[in-house]
Amino acid sequence: MSVEVLKTKAEQGLADQYTAARSGLPGAGNGWAEGLREAAWETYSSAGLPHRRIEEWKYTDLRALLRDAYPPAPALAEALTGEDVLAALGPVLAGLDCHRLVIVNGQFRLELSDAGGLEGKGEVFSLGDALGDPSHWLKQTLAQVNPPLNDTVVALNTALMTGGVAMRIADKAELGKPVHIVHMLTSGEAMSVTTRNVVVVGAGAKVTLLESYVSHGSAPAQRNAVTELVAGDGSQVHHIKFQNENPETAHLTSWMTRLGADVSYDAFQFSLGAAIARNQIFVAFAGEGSRSHISGAVLARGRQHNDTTMVVDHGVPGCESREFNKLVLDGSARGIVQCKAIVRKDAQKTDGHQMARALMLSDGAEFDSKPELEIFADDVVCGHGSTSGQVDAEQMFYLRARGIPEPQAKALLVAAFIGEVIEKVENESMREAFLKLTESWLAGEGEGG
């Protein structure tokens, strides 16, 4: 007997949206783009939104968490100035010296961006525009960089994406300043935003890429963002994410990354905001001798739900991977870390380690961890660790005995705990910014709890 799966309200809403919007989405009329969307919609609609029976989404049940599908953001948002962008970024990040590329409500806004100085080192354009007349490299890349199998959230992104940044960095180019892609939400009403970035880093190039996700205003939003990144042989990539969206936002991001040979890939994700956040990272090693170091810091309180899910796929020999996540959970916040390392049969000499640590500040907090190893090669060194607990009583006593009041002593210990992972950010001004943000988060402790 086959049982027809009933659509939830959100699923029905998404289906209606796709039917209504498909002819108006970027790339409509282009056979390739339409085919891509159609296939992705098939993948999505065969399973619907992921729920707790889907192993990878065990702890983040979107069918239950997303009550409704918000309408897509209007094609062109109201007039915005550069000042508004800086205000949304906040004082700490606004001062960052960088090439700023601004995406507002799903549209790449050239007039708000500053891509000057990139000439000769690469090209940047709007993905939305490019879908109508795709270049050869885009066709070779979009939706093909390490796509996760049966992930319906990524498929939904492909079906509904409205725009984003398409960027190609020339071989051996060295960018003096970080490229900063600002993903901004601004609206007085509830809306959904689906964006896609495609980044191809040429062989031997050196790039620092910062993606920030911020809100201008406090209206509820649903975000589904995907970044596909290809790192060419011998390139060095620093990939950083900063997320501080308003507490009404459901934030879903997926990074799909493929590393060539001898690549050095350092990623860092810093999560502060959103009601529900799911940070997916998929990294595949396609060339020998590469290393991938991914770390993350999560600060959550109130009823925030933060899920970091990673899959690191060692398909070739001689690569090294590190995943290091730290979470501070207060109030009734729920932190989740799922990290899976796959070592395929031929991936001998793999060196892979993962660690997740959670510090729980209140009784209502919850931490779920699932570090997973799937190993088919024998000559490997792999390990994982996971710990969770409260602030160490002895350390606390030590500080209190020296006359430091309890709240400050606690803040000091929490700052030290999370500081360890923030220190991994190489860019000094970003690192300083994140440490400052941690400080102010700690100062506001108790607000949301």
Partner: protein
């Protein structure tokens, strides 16, 4: 043709050598007809002379089983089992008891010998004398109770053959008997505890077991009693195409202690045999249960043909305060192992432990681990798991550690290490760690690596061959767990590890 036949025979011999316990005892048995339906359930119940409430319990389980689906989430692959193509009941034919061991079917005696059962117990097992009759051998042994201090309950195919040392145990107030006897003699205990840890509809195989369980051991340790000897059960699947569904229930009343050993083997068969057991442990206030398993069912031949499907549900309930349940397992056999001995830490200050060695070679598939569910305050648990994968095998550790909202002060330490031998095998670790209480402190670590070339070289330079060296290193790797085994099993296990890894190198 002849040459081919010779080769076949030769290979057969070698295979038989590989599986030391691959002998089959040809004894007349009574079997229920093949297949499973309500009548079979009634037949089993009737054969065992069960009261009506037991039959109703079984029928209820069978009805639920019909609505359930086989689980598919584990990392094991096997052709679909035809549950109608199995015998659900086989019992050795009972005849008038022989007068002395000389009259007993020599084949049966040979079986006992291979199992290493002392002569005195063989007498009882073979039915020469009853439990409460004195044996001539008693005097010969000199001591009050003879030499062996292990009480054995042997389960052949589906039926408990006999239980030894019953009288002495009874003196201490300990009940140690076949499950079928407990149903008749101690219905109040069975009614109270059976299915209270593993509910009837817990999972597909546990429900199947509830409907057709044939026999198993029942243990009750009264309040304040320290069981005077190790209790042991020996399980053996002898008959072709039979499923073995034993059910074990151990209750340790307040302040009592018991150590229980379980050993399993099966003869060599081409077709797969099904083993779906349920084990329930209940520890009340201040009680401690130590449960050790050495599982060496037939793992299939070198091409992965045959072998036992071992789908077992084992769960312990630390129901009382300060209670403790400790699982130790050595898993070397079975084509497929699917078992997760778990502890529900319900009582405050209760302790759960899980020590495991899982060795897979050839085409074996192991998906095993544990669950530690912290419900009470200040509960602690410890998991030490050692997985060794060789040949074409797949070895998965799957575990859950969870702390309930009210489980303040919960503490867990987990270490799972995997060792890979050869490049055709796989080792996987899938732990779930769920902390819903901020005062819970959970630590988890896992490593996967291969045997160190240095260690191997060191041993070989001292004249060991590669296989010996590997066995030595592996024994070192699992030492932490072996030390947790009762004395009786330690030496045997070390040898077993060597045997299990034969053919894994070179």
């Amino acid at each position: 043709m002849a040459a081919v036949q010779e080769t076949v025979d030769h290979v057969k011999e070698m295979e038989a050598d590989k599986y030391k316990y691959g002998f089959e005892t040809d004894i007349e048995t009574v079997k229920a007809p093949k297949g499973l339906n309500e009548d079979i359930v009634r037949f089993i119940s009737e054969k065992k002379d069960e009261p009506k409430w037991m039959l109703d319990w079984r029928l209820d389980a069978f009805e639920r089983w019909l609505t359930m689906k086989e689980p598919t989430w584990s990392r094991v692959h096997y052709p679909k089992i035809d549950f109608q193509d199995l015998y659900y009941y086989a019992a050795p034919k009972s005849t008038e008891g022989p007068k002395s061991l000389d009259e007993v079917d020599p084949e049966l005696l040979e079986t006992y010998k291979k199992l290493g059962i002392p002569l005195k117990e063989q007498e009882i097992l073979a039915g020469v004398r009853k439990m409460d009759e004195p044996s001539e051998l008693d005097e010969a042994a000199g001591g009050e109770y003879g030499s062996g201090r292990v009480a054995i309950d042997a389960v052949f195919d589906s039926v408990s053959v006999v239980t030894t040392f019953k009288k002495e145990l009874a003196k201490a107030g300990v009940i140690f008997c076949p499950m079928s006897e407990a149903v008749r003699e101690h219905p109040e205990l069975v009614k109270k505890y059976l299915g209270s840890v593993v509910p009837v509809s817990d999972n597909f195989y546990a429900t199947l077991n509830s409907a057709v369980f044939s026999d198993g051991s029942f243990v009750y340790i009264p309040e304040g009693v320290r069981c005077p000897m190790e209790l042991s059960t020996y399980f053996r699947i002898n008959e072709k195409q039979t499923g073995q569904f034993e059910r074990t229930l151990i209750i340790a009343d307040k302040g009592s202690y018991v150590s229980y050993l379980e050993g399993c083997t099966a003869p060599m068969r081409d077709e797969n045999q099904l083993h779906a057991a349920v084990v329930e442990l209940i520890a009340l206030d201040d009680a401690e249960i130590k449960y050790s398993t050495v599982q060496n069912w037939y793992p299939g031949d070198r091409n992965g043909v045959g072998g036992v499907y071992n789908f077992v549900t084992k769960r312990g309930d630390c129901r009382g305060k300060n209670s403790k349940i400790s699982w130790t397992q050595v898993e070397t056999g079975s084509a497929i192992t699917w078992k997760y001995p778990s502890c529900i830490l319900r009582g405050d200050n209760s302790v759960g432990e899980f020590y495991s060695i899982a060795i897979s070679n050839g085409y074996q598939q192991v998906d095993s681990g544990t669950k530690m569910i912290h419900l009470g305050k200040n509960t602690t648990s410890r998991i030490i798991s050692k997985g060794i994968a060789a040949g074409h095998s797949d070895n998965t550790y799957r575990g859950l550690v969870s702390a309930h909202r009210k489980a303040s002060g919960a503490r867990n330490f987990t270490a799972c290490d995997s060792l890979l031998i050869g490049n055709q095998c796989g080792a996987h670790t899938i732990p779930y760690i769920e902390a819903k209480n901020s005062s819970a402190t959970f630590e988890h670590e896992a490593t996967t690596s291969k045997i160190s070339e240095d260690q191997l070289f060191y041993c070989q330079a001292r004249g060991m061959n590669e296989e010996e060296a590997v066995a030595l290193i592996v024994n070192g790797f699992v030492r932490e767990v072996i030390q947790k085994l009762p004395m009786e099993f330690m030496a045997e296990t070390q040898r077993l590890i060597g045997i299990s890894l034969e053919g894994s190198v070179g």
